[in-house]
C-alpha cells in the first residue's frame, strides 16, 4: 500500500493539535511554573525575589508542615488497607449473588461513589450530628458518651477515613468483581468435588489469583488518598482546621489564606515527588499484574 507519509503527518498533527494546545497551557506550563515559583519569595499573585532553596529548608522547622505530613500518612494508614479489605469482603459477598438481586445489591454499595463530595459531607454531617444525628442513638445504645465528632481532633481523622471508605469503596468493589469474574469457574468446581472447605478455597484459590487486582486496588487507593483535600476541608469548617491539616490542605492554606505563593509551591513540589514515586511503583505493579494474568 502506498502511503503519503507527509500528508499522514499533517493530518496527525491537526488531530493532536487541540489536545496538545490544552495540555501545554493547563499542564506543562503550570508544572514548570510551579518549580520556578517554589524558589521565589512570591505572594499568590505577583512576582517575588529569587530565594534559592529557602522555601524548602523552611519546611523542616515548619510545624504546620509536620502536622500536614503526619496527618496525610495517618489518613493513608486509616483508609487504604481497611478500605481495600472492606471492598474485598463486599465483592466476595456480591459475587455470590446473581441476576437482579446482584444488580440491586451492587447498586446500593456503589451509589455513594457516584455522589459529589459535598453531598457526602451533608449526609454524614447530618447522620453524625452531635445533637440530632441518627448515629448518636447508636452511641447511646453502645454506651459511649456523645461527642461532636468533627470538632474533636482524636475523632476527626478516623471519622473522615470512615466516611471516605464509605464514599469510595464502590470503585474498589468494581475492580475486585472484575478480578473475581476473571477466575475460571472450573477451578472452583474442582475444589468443590474435593470437598475443600470455604476458607481453604479462598486461601488456596481466590486469594492468590486475586492478588494482582488487590495490588492494583491498594496502589490506586494509596495515590488517591495521598491527595485528599475535599472531605478534610469540608468537615473542618467551623472546627479546628490547623489540627486537621493534610498536604493539599496546607498548600491551599499557604497560598490562598496566607498569600505565600512561593512557600506553597515548595509544598506542592514535595507532594508532586511523593505521588510520582508511588505512581512509578504502581505502574510497575500494574505491568507485573498484567504479565501474571
Amino acid at each position: 500500500m502506498i502511503r503519503n507519509s507527509r500528508k499522514e503527518s499533517l493530518i496527525a498533527y491537526a488531530l493532536i493539535a487541540p489536545f496538545v494546545a490544552i495540555y501545554g497551557l493547563i499542564f506543562i506550563y503550570p508544572t514548570i511554573d510551579m518549580f520556578i515559583l517554589s524558589f521565589q519569595d512570591a505572594p499568590l499573585i505577583g512576582s517575588g525575589d529569587w530565594v534559592g532553596s529557602d522555601n524548602y529548608t523552611r519546611l523542616g522547622r515548619d510545624r504546620r508542615f509536620g502536622t500536614a505530613a503526619w496527618n496525610t500518612a495517618y489518613f493513608v494508614a486509616l483508609s487504604v488497607l481497611p478500605g481495600t479489605l472492606v471492598a474485598l469482603g463486599i465483592a466476595l459477598g456480591v459475587s455470590r449473588l446473581s441476576g437482579r438481586l446482584q444488580a440491586l445489591v451492587l447498586a446500593l454499595f456503589f451509589l455513594p461513589y457516584i455522589l459529589p463530595v459535598s453531598v457526602v459531607f451533608r449526609l454524614w454531617d447530618w447522620t453524625l450530628n452531635f445533637q440530632f444525628g441518627i448515629a448518636m442513638h447508636l452511641f447511646d445504645w453502645v454506651g459511649i458518651d456523645r461527642v461532636p465528632i468533627f470538632k474533636v481532633t482524636a475523632w476527626f481523622m478516623p471519622a473522615v477515613a470512615f466516611v471516605t471508605i464509605w464514599w469510595t469503596c464502590g470503585f474498589s468493589i468494581l475492580l475486585f468483581l472484575a478480578g473475581l469474574r476473571a477466575i475460571p469457574q472450573e477451578i472452583y468446581e474442582a475444589a468443590a468435588l474435593d470437598n475443600t472447605s470455604r476458607w481453604r478455597t479462598f486461601r488456596r484459590i481466590t486469594w492468590p489469583l486475586l492478588w494482582p487486582v488487590t495490588a492494583l486496588v491498594l496502589t490506586i487507593q494509596l495515590i488517591l488518598q495521598l491527595k485528599i483535600f475535599d472531605q478534610v476541608y469540608l468537615f473542618s469548617q467551623g472546627g479546628r482546621p490547623n489540627d486537621n491539616l493534610v498536604m493539599v490542605y496546607y498548600i491551599f492554606q499557604r497560598a490562598f489564606v496566607n498569600d505565600h505563593g512561593g512557600r506553597a509551591a515548595a509544598i506542592a513540589v514535595v507532594l508532586f515527588f511523593v505521588v510520582i514515586i508511588v505512581s512509578v511503583l504502581n505502574f510497575q505493579l500494574m505491568r507485573f499484574a498484567e504479565r501474571r494474568q
Partner: protein
C-alpha cells in the same frame, strides 16, 4: 467418600452460603441507609427533623424545603453553572482525546512515541499540586469567576486517550485498508468507521467524565468567589447564609445536587461500571 456424608456437607455448605447471602443483603441496606435517611429527613418539617426519636417515614410529608431551595437561594444559577461546565469539560475532553487517541493509534508521525510517553507520564502527576499555578494562570487570563475558568484546568484526563487508543488499536486492519482503497480521507475513516464502531465506549467515557466534572470540588471552589458563578457542589457548602442552620433545608439542597449524577448512574449503570473499570486499566 460415602453418600450421606456428602449430602450433609452440601447442606452445611448451603446453610453457610445462605447466611453469607443474607449478611451481604443486610449490609447493602445499612450501607445505603445514610442516603435514604438524608432524603427522608429533607421531606420532614424542620421541627420533626430534630425530634429525638428515629422515624423512618415522615409524619407530615413536605416539599417546602425543596421549594425554599429552588426559589429563595441561587440554586438555579448553580445548577446552570454545573450543567454548562460539566458538559463543556465532557465535550472538550472526549473529542480532543478521541482525535489524539486516533492519531496515536492509527497514524505514523514524528513525535508519536514521545507524545505517548508524555501522556502515560502525565497519568501520574497529581493535578491537585497545580492549583496555585492554575489560579495564577486563570487570574492572568481574566478567567476567574467564569465558565471558561472553571472548565479549563479540569481538562487533564489522560486516561481517556489511553482507553481510546486501546479500543482503536483493536479495530481490525481490514476495515482501514478497505476504506483507504476506496480513497476515503482520514476524516471519513475516523468518523464513518472508527467512531461508529466505538459508540459504546464513547458513551461510557462521556457519562463518567460528566460525573467527574459535576462532582469536582477543589478547582471550582478556588476559581469562583462570586456566589452566582458557583457550581452546585461549591454553592451548597460555601454559602452559609443561604440555608441557615436548617438541617432539612441543607439536606434538600444536597439531594438536588446529587440527583443528576445518581440518575445518570441508575439509567446507565452498565456503561458507568464499564468506564470505571476501563479507567483503572482493567478490560471490562
Amino acid at each position: 467418600m460415602s453418600g450421606p456424608m456428602t449430602a450433609q456437607t452440601a447442606r452445611r455448605f448451603n446453610l453457610a452460603g445462605g447466611a453469607i447471602t443474607l449478611v451481604t443483603v443486610i449490609c447493602a441496606v445499612i450501607w445505603a441507609f445514610p442516603i435514604y435517611w438524608g432524603i427522608i429527613s429533607s421531606l420532614k418539617p424542620e421541627d420533626e427533623v430534630v425530634r429525638p426519636v428515629i422515624e423512618l417515614w415522615p409524619e407530615t410529608l413536605t416539599f417546602d424545603h425543596y421549594w425554599f431551595a429552588l426559589t429563595e437561594t441561587q440554586i438555579g444559577s448553580w445548577y446552570l453553572n454545573s450543567i454548562v461546565t460539566a458538559l463543556g469539560v465532557t465535550f472538550i475532553t472526549v473529542t480532543t482525546s478521541m482525535f489524539a487517541g486516533y492519531a496515536i493509534s492509527q497514524l505514523r508521525f514524528p513525535g508519536r512515541t514521545a507524545l505517548w510517553w508524555l501522556i502515560l507520564a502525565s497519568f501520574m502527576v497529581p493535578t491537585q499540586v497545580l492549583i496555585i499555578n492554575h489560579f495564577v494562570l486563570m487570574a492572568n487570563m481574566g478567567l476567574l469567576n467564569s465558565w471558561a475558568g472553571i472548565i479549563l484546568p479540569q481538562l487533564i484526563h489522560p486516561v481517556i486517550i489511553i482507553v481510546y487508543k486501546q479500543f482503536f488499536d483493536q479495530v481490525p486492519r481490514d476495515f482501514r485498508e478497505a476504506a483507504v482503497m476506496d480513497n476515503a480521507s482520514e476524516w471519513r475513516i475516523l468518523f464513518k468507521v472508527y467512531v461508529p464502531m466505538n459508540w459504546g465506549v464513547t458513551t461510557a467515557l462521556s457519562i463518567v467524565t460528566f460525573i467527574w466534572a459535576w462532582n469536582a470540588f477543589l478547582w471550582p471552589f478556588l476559581a469562583v468567589t462570586k456566589t452566582e458563578m458557583m457550581t452546585i457542589t461549591v454553592g451548597i457548602t460555601q454559602v452559609w447564609d443561604a440555608f441557615g442552620v436548617y438541617y432539612a433545608r441543607q439536606l434538600s439542597a444536597a439531594v438536588l445536587a446529587g440527583f443528576p449524577v445518581a440518575l445518570a448512574y441508575l439509567l446507565f449503570q452498565r456503561r458507568v461500571t464499564q468506564a470505571i473499570t476501563l479507567s483503572a486499566g482493567i478490560k471490562g
